[in-house]
Point group: C2
Chain length 213, copies 2
C-alpha cells in the first residue's frame, strides 16, 4: 500500500484521531462515531476529519458514521503501529532515563502502544552496562551494531545540545530513519531521514510572548 505525497499536516492529525478511538474502544456503548463527534474530541473540524480519512480510503458509511474498532485498526495500520517498533534513546542522563521509564511503562500497560524502548546509549562508563527499568545501556560505539542486531527503527536524542548533531550523524550512519530530537538545536539530516522536534525551550519562549496580554 503506497500513498503518495500526503501532507504532513494530515499525518499529524492521524495520531489525534487514533487517540480518541483508543479511548472510545473501551466503551461498549460507542461502536459508531461521526466525523462531527470525532472532530470535537480531537479538536478538528468535521469536514477536515472526513477529508483526512478520505486520503486513505472509504472508511465510513453514509448516514451512519465510522465504526470505532474498524477505523482504529485502519489508522493503526496506516501509521505502521500494527507492528512493534523498536526505539533507542541516545543519552542516559536524567531526561533519557525519564523517557525510557515513561515510554516503557506505556508499552507494558497499553497493549496497542507498539512503540517499545529497547536500548539506551551513553558515553559515561559509569552508566554503560547498567539497566534502567530493565532496559540496557550500551556504549555509543556499539550503536551501529545494536541498530542492526535489535532492528532499531527509531531513536530519541536526549543528549546535551553540543552532542546532538553527533548523535544524529551516528544514528543516520547506522540506518535509523526517524529521530525525535529533544536537544535545543536544529539538526541536519539527509533526505529520507525524518525528524521530529520536541524543543522545550522554543515552546517556553513562544509562550513567554503571550504573557503580555
Amino acid at each position: 500500500m503506497r500513498w503518495k505525497k500526503i501532507s504532513d499536516a494530515v499525518i499529524r492529525r492521524l495520531p489525534l484521531y487514533l487517540r480518541v478511538l483508543d479511548e472510545l474502544a473501551s466503551d461498549p456503548n460507542t461502536q459508531l462515531i461521526s466525523s462531527q463527534e470525532l472532530g470535537v474530541r480531537a479538536g478538528v473540524g468535521p469536514a477536515l476529519v472526513r477529508k483526512d480519512l478520505a486520503w486513505f480510503g472509504e472508511f465510513g458509511k453514509q448516514g451512519v458514521g465510522y465504526e470505532v474498532e474498524f477505523l482504529r485498526d485502519e489508522l493503526r495500520r496506516i501509521l505502521n503501529l500494527d507492528q512493534e517498533i523498536k526505539v533507542a534513546i541516545v543519552g542516559a542522563g536524567s531526561l533519557g532515563a525519564a523517557f525510557a521509564r515513561y515510554t516503557h511503562k506505556r508499552y507494558s500497560d497499553d497493549s496497542s502502544f507498539n512503540l517499545n524502548i529497547v536500548a539506551l546509549f551513553d558515553n559515561d562508563p559509569e552508566k554503560i552496562g547498567a539497566q534502567i527499568d530493565g532496559i540496557p545501556v550500551y556504549g555509543s560505539e556499539e550503536l551501529k551494531d545494536k541498530v542492526e542486531e535489535l532492528d532499531l527503527q527509531m531513536a530519541i536524542i536526549a543528549v546535551p545540545a553540543e552532542y546532538a548533531q553527533v548523535a544524529a550523524d551516528q544514528l543516520v550512519a547506522a540506518g535509523v530513519k526517524a529521530i525525535l530530537n529533544f536537544a535545543p538545536v536544529k539538526l541536519t539530516v539527509p533526505e529520507g531521514v525524518h525528524l521530529a522536534s520536541a524543543d522545550l525551550s522554543l515552546e517556553l519562549q513562544r509562550l513567554a510572548y503571550y504573557l503580555r496580554d
Copy 2:
C-alpha cells in the same frame, strides 16, 4: 507596546531567530546579519524573515542588514524575555525532575535565558519538602498560595495523563496564563490561557508513519 493579532506561525519563528542571534552574539566577527543568512541558519526563507520582523518594527538597514546585538535585544523584548520569568513544574516524578535539572542548569549557565524553574509541586508526601537541584517541592494544595507568593507566571505539566486536566484546572484557578503540557492528553483551558504541548507519543506515532518509505 501592543501588537494586535499577529499570527502564531510568526511567533513560533521568533525564538528560532533569537537562538541564531544568541549564537552569533558571542562571535565578534559577526556584527551584522542579512535576512538571507539569518534565514539559512534558522531554516526559514529570507523573505519570510523580513516579513516576520517587519510586524514589530523596522530593525534593519537597507543595503546592510540587521545588527546582531540590536536585533537580539529587540527579539528578547518582544518575547518578554528581557525579564526573569518564574516557572513551576507540576509533577516531581522522573520527568518533572529531569526538566527541573535541565532548565535550571540552562538558567544558571546562560545569563540571557530568563526562564527560571523555582518550584515543583507533587502529591507524594515522600517528595514534598525535599529539593531537586535546589528547587523546593511543595504539596499541590499550596499551589495557589505559591503562585502568588513567588509570582509564578508559567507552568510545565509533567504528571500522568489522568491528572493532567486536574493540574491544568488548578493552575488556571491560581492565575497561571501559560502552560506547557507533556501529558498525552488534550487539555481544555479557558480563553486567555495559552497552551503549548510537547506530546511525545503523538510525535513518535507521526514518525512511525514515515517508516514505510
